[in-house]
Point group: C2
Chain length 177, copies 2
């Protein structure tokens, strides 16, 4: 293998926000030339594919400001500092949907945009839900829905399910059939 | 449905880069309170699930600076301004792998990180490859690989396939079996 690694020559912090930080790295390319890389730092996230006793997929509908539109998504949220992945999965599921669960398992983790961000999202699965009460963050507004596979595929077709983790979740459900 | 829309009160550009821009919007929440949203603008991208005549998945290995590691990914790249999606798919496939193809079809599109970015990636599929010569961008360094499904699943297990579009591609292949 050719050495493909890019060596950092300089790193400049541009912005430190409440969710993301932005920095620009000047790098030495494998051929000795220099270039810059724009890098968004993110704390990472967890999402849950949750199936009800009737086999329906639990979704939340929320407004996504970057897209200026409403999306149906599987429950998800950012990791708190030092928080264990499974703790985060259980917390976000309960906060956003009111559901707790008797067991939960890790399915897959993936970087959402490896070209410009380090965001890593961890996908969990549960079908052992226990109904409770939801309690949203103060700046979080969302509606709850439960859909069967046909309804999920219809939402996908209508571009109302339109994000990586939820498209993955629908494909995951299709594979379980 | 409760009105979940967030109204923009103020928008501040923080950074304009060669790949992404960053702005912070001050928004009015559905309950009348204000909050801020950190938003990364991205031109959008196209990726190709390309199968050789032997049914192998075409991958490129490249160094991803935000993760400081090498990933195996399906061929992909950013949209040029005004570029048609299919044109971009064919261009990136040829640039990164040398392959052209007789036909290509759209599979799905998804937002990678709707919480903080508008990046939309369009996934295409082809199994009608014609071998040619690759010609990379000047700041692009990558190696080409072709793997069968078992090898792809092994790379997934080893976290060498580790990003949204490629994890999706492997699941897509599994569904075709």
């Amino acid at each position: 293998m050719t050495d493909l690694v890019e060596k950092t020559l300089h790193s400049k912090t541009i912005f430190e926000g409440k969710v993301i930080d932005l920095r620009v790295d000047t790098v030495e390319l494998p051929n000795g030339e220099t270039s810059t890389r724009e890098i968004v730092k993110h704390p990472g996230a967890v999402a849950v594919i949750a199936l009800t006793d009737e086999g329906k997929l639990v979704l939340v509908q929320q407004y996504r400001k970057p897209l200026e539109k409403l999306l149906f998504e599987i429950p998800a949220g950012k990791l708190d500092p030092g928080e264990a992945l499974e703790t985060c999965a259980l917390r976000e599921l309960e906060e956003e949907t009111g559901y707790r669960c008797r067991s939960i398992e890790h399915v897959v983790s993936f970087y959402t945009s490896p070209g410009f961000s380090d965001e890593l999202i961890h996908i969990y699965f549960t079908d052992t839900l226990i109904r409770g009460e939801r309690h949203l963050d103060e700046d979080e507004f969302l509606e709850n829905y439960e859909v069967d596979l046909q309804e999920a595929l219809q939402l996908l077709k209508e571009k109302k399910i339109d994000d990586a983790k939820t498209v993955y979740a629908v494909q995951y459900l299709q594979m379980q059939q």
